[in-house]
Symmetry: C2
């Protein structure tokens, strides 16, 4: 399967790229608004993978070119770039492309971080509203510890929650998630359930801020 | 320490009563609007504890009498009874009573359960607004699996998140939480961070509804 990681030069994008390239045989393509930066990062990832005996090709392109012909497009961009990123790659999206939204909107005050829902109800629903008609959208990878994900020596042993109104698309992302060692996909229902999933991300930051020795956290349901 | 469990005849109340009575030496007092029901449940809990070789006294009273002279008052009532329960026991609350709010507001639609924040921002903040001036309020025990909690044979191995603006009160509840075997207290910061904590409860129900073999769930941060 060909996975395009738009914003794949950022922290969650880097972790997903490395994990999929290391743990699976999926083709990983890095997208960025700046194709030079995408190519540079793709080479960095290949060097890291090669140092671990994994000789795989990771390529870098503009977001538009990365999304073109991808089976799965992951929007690993900040929430405020979500809609313009979807619009930029819309020509490459159709009913055969699974669009994955891991972004979360947050605001900060003196107490810590808070979930900042867009008027669509959640960032995942915002992505669904901006996607071309018929493109299936899945919310996933919202609550992953970025540095741990990008460190192939670090054990994950955490869950990722999936929300979607499209059963086939959700199954594709479930399979992609399960391919990453130590990452367990957990079904949280339809897109309407996305805000409670996204709300965990500011909570993880608040927990890290308030507890010595707890940082770069994930969550497990059991 | 004397702990009053208002609504201690309900499911979360039952679990906390049994666990504190079994695992610690704190005095557990059950409160209910109906004192007969409170006494009946207290006797039920004592029978259960006795069958496990734990000969302890659990008493049952009206909520008002249970809260009177308690060191810690836990509002184990549904969110829609929270304010009238606080008002009913207000004479027994002061700056030396720690008021603990585990309630969560939820609504349901075709997709599942959703967090339903009151205008105060969270149910915990609603409790803080309704409490007599100076009474410290702690949000805790929001996301506990009720049946597992009430089954002393069941292992917990889960976290409970604490929020409060009062460091001493939070420390008291941290200590009470840590006294329950398998329950780890985790500090989530101030009261303003309560909504993300409460939002986990509908998510746990959605996860249970959408995954075979996952039910009566707790959450762990790591």
């Amino acid at each position: 399967m060909r996975i395009a990681l738009l914003g794949g030069t950022g922290d969650i994008g880097e972790g997903l790229a490395l994990r999929w390239a290391y743990d699976t045989n999926h083709e990983v393509v890095i997208g960025s608004r700046d194709p030079e930066r995408a190519r540079g990062k793709a080479e960095e990832y290949m060097t890291e993978l090669d140092s671990r005996g994994r000789d795989v090709k990771v390529t870098g392109f503009t977001n538009e070119m990365a999304a073109d012909r991808a089976d799965v497009v992951v929007l690993a961009v900040p929430a405020y770039h979500l809609v313009d990123t979807i619009e930029a790659v819309a020509d490459g999206l159709d009913e055969n492309t699974v669009l994955v939204s891991p972004a979360v909107g947050m605001k900060r005050d003196d107490d810590g971080f808070h979930y900042n829902a867009p008027s669509a109800g959640s960032v995942t629903q915002l992505a669904a509203g901006a996607a071309p008609e018929g493109t299936p959208v899945v919310g996933a990878f919202h609550n992953l510890p970025a540095a741990r994900l990008a460190n192939l020596d670090a054990e994950l042993d955490i869950d990722t929650l999936l929300v979607s109104d499209d059963a086939d698309a959700k199954e594709t992302v479930r399979m992609l998630s399960a391919g990453i060692e130590g990452l367990r996909p957990v079904d949280a229902g339809g897109l309407a359930n996305a805000s409670e999933v996204e709300g965990i991300t500011p909570l993880l930051i608040n927990v890290a801020m308030n507890n010595d020795g707890m940082h770069d956290l994930g969550v497990t349901f059991h």
